[in-house]
């Protein structure tokens, strides 16, 4: 284990940021506006706080068991078989997350840039890309995230800055929303947005490879502040440019924002295709994280020495799940439902584990 502990705190934060920023950014303003109309940025902020709970729980658990992944310490905490059932649930959830993200981005690609390409092709390409890259160890996993995360922040910030030209602050008022949407709708929206953050659960397998596991909490706070800040910024920019009523008619408001902006001096007339191209990296890092989690945890569950074999073995299953939703509307329906149910797994399950661990007084070996 000594040589495997290579991941620094900055790298761990980078993993979280690039994992969280993904395809979910594209429909994000739509979800937020559905929850609170002009209060969308505020709601996004609240959701980030909710998502923070999951990360804090995972990091506290991880710091309690600094040399084990979630699958291993769940077996110590609640016993062998219940722990395994819990792990299987988490693994299955992450496999579904992978397939839904691949499907969602596949839809975006065929709608926006490659209208004559079959959906199956774009989904397969993304999944293959993730699968090929999962045949690496966790150090390379960290390197890859660390390399890409500036590339994710750059274009997103560039587009929001350029969009400010067309922004109108009146669209953002009142900050708390109009109150047209009932409390149920708002909570529903908060949970949906919070579910966009939940791939950050991958921290649970990163902690045992961190050079200083006790800094996991710091890494997760940094990761959350930067990615949550980016989410809020994007919602802010989109709402201030389009206004909440307009956004309700747009499927991917962030993409529309890119379409509406152009670089100064007309170097590039429209930015949507370029933005989407750069966004491939963002989606890739998310898929890579969730799929890596699925594959390595499954490998741990079966006590395999090497998870490489699994990465292609699981691919057809993930692909089939991705193809299950009939159309784009049903897909978003599924994404909302699965996402909200997922919160039980990403917040409820670690909370449950932590409480049991407290009660039973279990803790891992401190290294």
């Amino acid at each position: 284990m000594a040589e495997a502990r290579q991941i620094t705190t900055i790298q761990a934060a980078a993993i979280l940021i690039s994992t969280i920023i993904g395809v979910g950014v594209l429909p994000l303003p739509l979800f937020a506006v559905h929850a609170a109309e002009s209060g969308a940025p505020f709601i996004t902020f609240i959701s980030a706080l909710v998502a923070m709970a999951s990360l804090v729980l995972v990091s506290v658990l991880g710091m309690r068991f600094p040399s084990q992944t979630i699958g291993q310490y769940s077996e110590t905490i609640i016993g062998k078989w219940p722990g395994r059932i819990g792990s299987i649930m988490v693994i299955a959830f992450f496999a579904i997350l992978t397939s839904l993200a691949a499907r969602e981005f596949g839809e975006v690609v065929i709608t926006a840039v490659l209208p004559r390409t079959p959906l199956e092709v774009t989904v397969t390409v993304m999944l293959l890309l993730a699968a090929i890259s999962t045949r690496n160890n966790i150090t390379t996993f960290a390197y890859i995230h660390f390399f890409y995360f500036p590339l994710l922040l750059g274009p997103a910030l560039l587009i929001t800055v350029l969009a400010l030209k067309n922004a109108d602050t009146i669209n953002l008022l009142p900050i708390w929303g109009n109150g047209n949407i009932g409390i149920k709708g708002t909570i529903d929206g908060i949970l949906t947005i919070a579910s966009l953050f939940q791939s950050a659960f991958v921290l649970a397998i990163v902690i045992p490879s961190m050079r200083r596991p006790n800094r996991a909490l710091r890494a997760s706070i940094w990761g959350m502040v930067i990615s949550g800040g980016l989410y809020v910024t994007i919602v802010l920019a989109t709402v201030s440019v389009f206004g909440s009523e307009e956004i309700k008619n747009l499927l991917w408001p962030t993409l529309e924002l890119a379409k509406a902006t152009s670089l100064p001096a007309n170097v590039l007339e429209r930015l949507d295709a370029a933005f989407l191209a750069v966004w491939v990296t963002a989606v890739f890092t998310t898929l890579f994280s969730t799929y890596f989690f699925t594959v390595t945890e499954l490998g741990n569950l079966f006590h395999l020495k090497d998870h490489k074999m699994l990465s292609f073995f699981l691919l057809p299953i993930v692909f089939l799940v991705a193809m299950l939703p009939q159309n784009i509307l049903q897909m978003y329906e599924v994404i909302r439902n699965i996402g909200q149910m997922g919160l039980i797994i990403t917040i409820g399950y670690p909370a449950f584990l932590l409480i049991i661990a407290w009660v039973r007084g279990k803790r891992g070996d401190r290294t």
Binding site: Q11, I132, S133, T140, Y143, R270, F284
Partner: protein, 547 residues
């Protein structure tokens, strides 16, 4: 000895064939001491080497009385030296023994200490070593009645003179390049590094070539584990021939299937020395003018010697230009293809119209056009290298001007395509390291194909695959993209820009060097202090008045 063992097992399994394994007859006499009987030694050595017409076996009488024989290959030795320092010295007894002959018992010592006028003489008794000495170009003198023979290093191989390095020319910096002879190359390194910490260890690799391989490093600077690992990897190499350091490179690199080079080569001694000082290990092979440097990270491939000898601000800008050229040579054609065929709305309308106008007569899709032009450019480039120098210039003019112009005029390619191809090609020439440029040059073909299928999306997929591969590569355990990933801010001073030398006062941290400091703190302080104006005109005002 693994070599020996394998041969034995071969003998058991393989049916007897005429092709004897290398040096089988030599192995038969290994560890057989010469008995002191001259006829025996002559018989063995003559049996092994006597078939060759350039082999010389000359009989003589030492001090006029003791019979002896000298063996050597006539074309590999310094004949004049043998005549004056060996033959003459042995035939006439030294002055102190003119009066009375040297006692027979002390003859061995007298020859070595009083007679032979040569610095490099050693005594050998193993017959196989004697034969190997002759093969290496040494002269072997066997004397009747003495149980050891004298091996005199009279080797003299013709060599070319030290020249400016052909592939790594600089405007500012030393003009010397390595030549083929290992000894000369080592001397070039040694005179630049006059410290007792410089270690040169040598081994012989290649069953038939017995090439001398030297491992150079700076004790106390280099990580000892690295030296151990280099030694280990090299000693695993048991091959027929090591004709160039390139052969070794392919056996010691980490990932054999990667298009990216994981070992840097150079023909500049100053570059080798700079790398030794950073804590790397250099591997030199006799017969090859190229030294290998390990471990290698990607940023070395776009750095040059001049970056450090010229002013840092300007060289940083030039390094940036080189980096742009590197990126150009990889992605420019694929970006062009994807924008033209999938997203023409990205570029400004006027330009899009101009491009469309240029492409109006071209019957092929952009990808076919670009691929055909790229392939012909590669052919042209290869042809220019192979052609005799006198014709080369003419051909490149024909290729670039005539073919390019004619292709456009014939409606085969659009003018903008020709511009793109030209920029790409020039970009790939701007990369200092040929092997890295080659990798990126060839990777642009799959990228163009991906661009033709999926547009910008495909280009990104291709780039992600390449980047992930680079991120997973390692050279002797050092991540290939260090110091960018894993982040090391000290190292980033030499990554894209080149910081002033005294800012980079540490050696690269990813090499885990022993001695970490390159620049003493007092020097750093001194550089930052305001300079002393010795010849300030104000000071000399008084003087002038007096005059």
């Amino acid at each position: 000895m693994p070599l020996f063992r394998r041969r034995r097992s071969l003998k058991k399994k393989a049916p007897p064939s005429n092709a004897a394994p290398p040096d089988r007859r030599l192995e038969e006499v290994r560890h057989t001491d010469m008995s002191g009987r001259l006829e025996e030694v002559v018989r063995v050595i003559n049996g092994l080497l006597g078939d060759n017409d350039d082999f010389v076996m000359r009989e003589l009488r030492i001090f006029g009385r003791h019979p002896a024989v000298i063996f050597y290959y006539s074309n590999m030795v310094d004949q004049a030296g043998i005549n004056s320092d060996v033959l003459k010295a042995l035939m006439y007894p030294p002055p102190q023994f003119r009066e009375e002959a040297a006692p027979r018992g002390r003859l061995k010592e007298v020859i070595l200490c009083d007679a032979l006028h040569h610095t490099e003489v050693k005594l050998e008794s193993d017959l196989a070593s004697l034969v190997e000495g002759v093969l290496r170009g040494q002269a072997v003198i066997a004397v009747d009645g003495i149980d050891e023979a004298y091996v005199v290093n009279t080797r003299s191989i013709l060599k070319r003179s030290i020249d400016t390095p052909a592939t790594e020319q600089v405007i500012r910096g030393p003009r010397e390049g390595f030549i083929e002879l290992l000894g000369t190359n080592l001397s070039l390194i040694r005179y630049r590094l006059q410290t007792c910490d410089l270690r040169i260890k040598s081994m012989e690799l290649g069953r038939r070539t017995q090439s001398k391989v030297a491992i150079c490093y700076l004790e106390g600077v280099v990580s000892p584990d690295l030296v151990k690992e280099v030694n280990r990897r090299l000693s695993q190499v048991d091959i027929d021939a090591v004709l160039d350091s390139g052969y070794l490179e392919q056996y010691i690199e980490d990932n054999h299937y990667s298009p990216f080079p994981q070992v840097q080569y150079t023909e500049r001694p100053d570059k080798v020395v700079a790398n030794l000082l950073e804590g790397r290990v250099a591997i030199m092979v006799d017969g090859s003018p190229l030294a290998l440097l390990v471990p290698t990270v990607f940023n070395q491939f776009y750095q040059t010697v001049e970056d450090y000898t010229e002013r840092f601000l300007l060289m940083s800008a030039i390094r940036l230009a080189r980096l742009v050229a590197l990126v150009f040579s990889l992605i420019f054609p694929s970006l062009y293809v994807s924008i033209i065929s999938f997203n023409p709305e990205l570029i400004p309308t006027e330009f899009a119209v101009a491009v469309a106008g240029g492409r109006a007569g071209v019957p092929f899709p952009a990808i076919v056009e670009v691929l055909v032009m790229e392939v012909s450019m590669e052919v042209l480039r290869e042809a220019t290298i192979r052609l005799p120098q006198q014709v080369g210039g003419a051909l490149s003019i024909v290729g670039v001007l005539v073919v390019g112009q004619a292709a456009v005029a014939a409606g085969f390619a659009s003018p903008i395509t020709v511009v793109i191809i030209a920029l790409t090609t020039i970009g790939s020439f701007a990369t200092p390291a040929y092997n890295a440029a080659l990798a990126l040059r060839l990777l642009r073909f799959p990228l163009v194909i991906m661009a033709g299928i999926f547009g910008l999306y495909g280009v990104m997929i291709g780039l992600i695959l390449i980047a992930n591969h680079l991120l997973s590569l390692k050279s002797f355990g050092v991540p290939y993209l260090s110091p960018l990933v894993p982040g090391n801010f000290q190292g980033m001073k030499d990554l894209i820009a080149r910081a002033p030398l005294w800012w980079m006062w540490r050696r690269p941290s990813f090499l885990f060097t022993g001695d970490k400091h390159r620049v003493d703190e007092s020097t750093i302080d001194y550089v930052q202090k305001p300079s002393n104006d010795v010849l300030d005109p104000l000071k000399f005002k008084e003087d002038r008045k007096e005059r």
